[in-house]
C-alpha cells in the first residue's frame, strides 16, 4: 500500500511540504490535506488591502493545482484531535483519518489586546483572508483608522492603509515603534519619517477600553486624550494554533519541539512553520520565528523527510523587511543580542542607519534602514544577510566594516563569502520552481 502522508494546515509550511513530497515521489504516495482555510499566503494580504492585487492573487494553490498534485483535500475542515498511538487524526466533523506520517502546520492566529470592547464591531484583526475582507469593506477614503500595535505585522499594512487615503494613527504600548524589529535610534528615525508622511503616532500608550460613540469607536487610554476612530485595527500579537493537540503525546514548549529533521517528540509526526520551535541558525537555540521564510524552509525539509530522505536542517535565519512610504526597514539574525559587539552608523540626510552585530570577527546580525530608491540599500540588505548566513570569520574585513558600515560589497566579495554560500542548498539539491513540480 502507498504511504499515506497527512498534512494539517494548507498555509506556507503545508504547501511547501506537499510540493516537496511531490518533487521527490512524483505522485506515488497518498497525500491528504486538511486545512481550515483554502491555501493562500497571509503575507500577501496587505497588497490585496491596498488594491495592488485582486483577491484571487493571494491563493497559492487552487483546487485544480491540488488535484494536479494528486492531493486529496479537506478544505474548510479543522483538525480536532490527534491520537498518536493509533496514528489517527479526527476532524471537527468526526471524520477519522489514519496516517503513516503527519505534518502539523496550523500556523497562528491574531490575538486582540484584552480590553473591554475589543470584540465589538468596527474592531478588526488583520491575519486571515476573512478578516482582510472585513477590513477591505470597512476602510474608505477619509476614514480615520487607528492601528493598535506598531509591530512588524502592523507595519506591513501601513502602506495599504495610506494608499486607501485613510487617516492613520498608530498607538503602541511600548515606548518605541517596531520594538521587536529595530533599536531605539532606528525607531526614532522611522517615527520622524512617518510623521512627515502624515501619520499620527502615540507610543507608550496603554489602551484601556474601546467604546461605541455614535457609530464610531472611542479609544480610551490610561493617560492622554481619547481617540475617535472609524476603524480600529488590532495588531497586538499572535498565538500558535495548537489547542487541538491538547491531550496528545506531541511535546509543546513555546511551539512544538522539533529536531533537526523537523520531527516532533512523536517519531512519525512532524511540525513546521509558525507552530514549530526549531533551531535558530545564528544562536543554535530552539526558537519560534513566525516568519514566512522559516515556514517555507521548515515545510520543505519536513516534506523531504516525509518523502523518505534523511535531511538535516541547518536552522532558520530570522529576517524581516518592510517598506513604509519608500523607507526600507530590515533586520536579521541576532540584531538585538545585548552580548554582541554592536557598531552603529547613521546618515540622517539620507535617512540611512545601520547597525552591525559581531561575535569575534563573525557578523551575527544586522539592522538596516534606508530609502527604497537608494539602490545600495537593497544590495547591502542581501549581502549582510549573506555574511550572517555564511557565518565565516571576516578577519581584517571586520575592521573595514567597523570603519565603513556603508561599504559592504568589498568585504563581502574579498572574504570569499560567495564561495562559501554557493554550495549551500536547503534540500541538498537545486531547487525546483513552484510551477515545475508536477
Amino acid at each position: 500500500m502507498a504511504t499515506r502522508h497527512v498534512i494539517v494546515g494548507g498555509g506556507t509550511a503545508g504547501l511547501n511540504a506537499i510540493r516537496t513530497i511531490r518533487a521527490y515521489d512524483r505522485g506515488e504516495s497518498e497525500v491528504i490535506l486538511v486545512s481550515a482555510e483554502r491555501p493562500y499566503s497571509r503575507m500577501v494580504l496587505p497588497y490585496y488591502l491596498g488594491r495592488g492585487i485582486a483577491e484571487s492573487h493571494v491563493f497559492t494553490a487552487t483546487p485544480a493545482h491540488l488535484a494536479q498534485l494528486q492531493v486529496q483535500a479537506h478544505l474548510g475542515r479543522r483538525a480536532a484531535s490527534l491520537d498518536t498511538a493509533a496514528n489517527c487524526l479526527t476532524l471537527d466533523d468526526g471524520t477519522r483519518i489514519e496516517y503513516d506520517d503527519l505534518l502539523i502546520a496550523t500556523g497562528s492566529s491574531a490575538v486582540k489586546a484584552p480590553v473591554p470592547g475589543a470584540d465589538s464591531p468596527g474592531v478588526h484583526s488583520f491575519w486571515t483572508l476573512e478578516q482582510a475582507r472585513g477590513v477591505v469593506a470597512a476602510i474608505r477614503e477619509g476614514s480615520h483608522v487607528v492601528l493598535v500595535g506598531a509591530g512588524f505585522i502592523a507595519f506591513t499594512i501601513l502602506n495599504a492603509i495610506l494608499a486607501l487615503k485613510a487617516k492613520l494613527t498608530i498607538v503602541e504600548i511600548a515606548p518605541q515603534l517596531l520594538p521587536r524589529m529595530i533599536d531605539r535610534t532606528g525607531a526614532e528615525m522611522v517615527e520622524k519619517w512617518l510623521r512627515r508622511h502624515g501619520v499620527a503616532i502615540r507610543t507608550g500608550a496603554t489602551l484601556t477600553a474601546i467604546e461605541e460613540a455614535e457609530g464610531r469607536r472611542r479609544l480610551r487610554f490610561r493617560e492622554g486624550e481619547d481617540l475617535l476612530a472609524d476603524v480600529v485595527l488590532m495588531a497586538t500579537g499572535i498565538r500558535t494554533n495548537l489547542e487541538w493537540l491538547n491531550g496528545s503525546a506531541v511535546r509543546v514548549n513555546r511551539g512544538i519541539v522539533v529536531d533537526d529533521h523537523l520531527r516532533s517528540s512523536v517519531g512519525n509526526v512532524y511540525a513546521a512553520g509558525d507552530v514549530a520551535e526549531g533551531l535558530d541558525l545564528v544562536t543554535g537555540q530552539p526558537a519560534v520565528h513566525a516568519i514566512e521564510p522559516t515556514a517555507m524552509e521548515h515545510g520543505r525539509v519536513a516534506g523531504a523527510n516525509m518523502a523518505g530522505q534523511d535531511l538535516a536542517y541547518r536552522g532558520s535565519l530570522l529576517m524581516n523587511i518592510v517598506e513604509v512610504c519608500h523607507l526600507d526597514i530590515a533586520s536579521f539574525g541576532a540584531w538585538d543580542d545585548p552580548t554582541a559587539e554592536a557598531v552603529a552608523a547613521a546618515r540622517p540626510d539620507r535617512w540611512a542607519y545601520r547597525k552591525l552585530l559581531w561575535k569575534g570577527d563573525r557578523l551575527i546580525g544586522a539592522m538596516i534602514l534606508g530609502m527604497a530608491n537608494d539602490i545600495w540599500t537593497t544590495n547591502d540588505v542581501g549581502m549582510l544577510k549573506g555574511l550572517v548566513q555564511a557565518g565565516n570569520g571576516l578577519g581584517a574585513w571586520k575592521a573595514h566594516l567597523r570603519r565603513h558600515p556603508f561599504d559592504i560589497k568589498p568585504a563581502f566579495i574579498a572574504s570569499g563569502t560567495t564561495a562559501r554560500l554557493l554550495p549551500e542548498t536547503i534540500l541538498g539539491r537545486p531547487s525546483v520552481p513552484v510551477g515545475q513540480v508536477m
Binding site: 521564510p293 540588505v381 549581502m383 560589497k409 566579495i413 554560500l421 554557493l422 531547487s431
Partner: protein, 162 residues
C-alpha cells in the same frame, strides 16, 4: 548550463556592461537599473563586474510567497512581473545582494541572462565577461582578496615611508 563567467583581471572599469544591461532591461541607459554592477577594489585602481550567479538554491525563488520567480529555459531565475506583488522578501533572502526592487514599478528585478544572449558579455570590450558552458562560481573572491591585501601592504609601506 551556460553562465556568466567573470575574469576580473581583464576588467578596466569602463562600465559598458552596466550601460548595456540597463538598456536591454529597461530600454534606456540608466546604470542605476543595471543588474550587473562594477565594483571598485584597491581604492578604485581595479574593478570587477558583479551579478547574480544563478545559485542552485535560488533563495529568491524559494522565498517568494507567490511563486513569482521561476527558472527560464536558459536556466536563469527570473521574476514574473504579473505575479510579483513587490513584498521584497526575495531581496532579503538572496544572500548575494543580487536581486533588486524598482520603486516605480513596485516589482523585483534581477539578471535573466537576457534570455540567452547576455548584453553585458557582448558589450565588454576586453572579454572580462564571458557567456560559457560552466559551473557557476565565485569569480571575484580571490582577485578581490589579493587586491585588498596589496592595497593594504602599500598603505602600510606608504605610512612607513611618509
Amino acid at each position: 548550463m551556460k553562465v556568466l563567467r567573470i575574469i576580473p583581471e581583464r576588467c578596466t572599469g569602463c562600465m559598458r556592461c552596466e550601460l548595456a544591461c540597463s538598456y536591454v532591461q529597461t530600454g534606456t541607459f540608466q546604470p542605476a537599473r543595471s543588474v550587473i554592477r562594477v565594483a571598485p577594489f584597491e581604492a578604485h585602481t581595479s574593478y570587477a563586474p558583479y551579478t547574480c550567479p544563478q545559485c542552485a538554491e535560488g533563495w529568491c525563488m524559494t522565498a517568494c510567497p507567490v511563486g513569482a520567480i521561476t527558472i527560464s529555459p536558459v536556466g536563469a531565475k527570473i521574476v514574473l512581473d504579473d505575479q510579483c506583488v513587490g513584498c521584497k522578501l526575495c531581496t532579503i533572502a538572496c544572500p548575494y545582494g543580487t536581486i533588486f526592487y524598482n520603486p516605480e514599478t513596485q516589482k523585483a528585478f534581477k539578471c535573466d541572462l537576457c534570455g540567452g544572449a547576455p548584453a553585458c558579455a557582448e558589450a565588454c570590450p576586453t572579454s572580462a565577461i564571458e557567456y560559457v558552458e560552466a559551473e557557476t562560481g565565485d569569480w571575484l573572491g580571490v582577485f578581490a582578496a589579493t587586491r585588498a591585501a596589496r592595497h593594504h601592504e602599500m598603505q602600510v609601506a606608504g605610512a612607513e615611508v611618509g
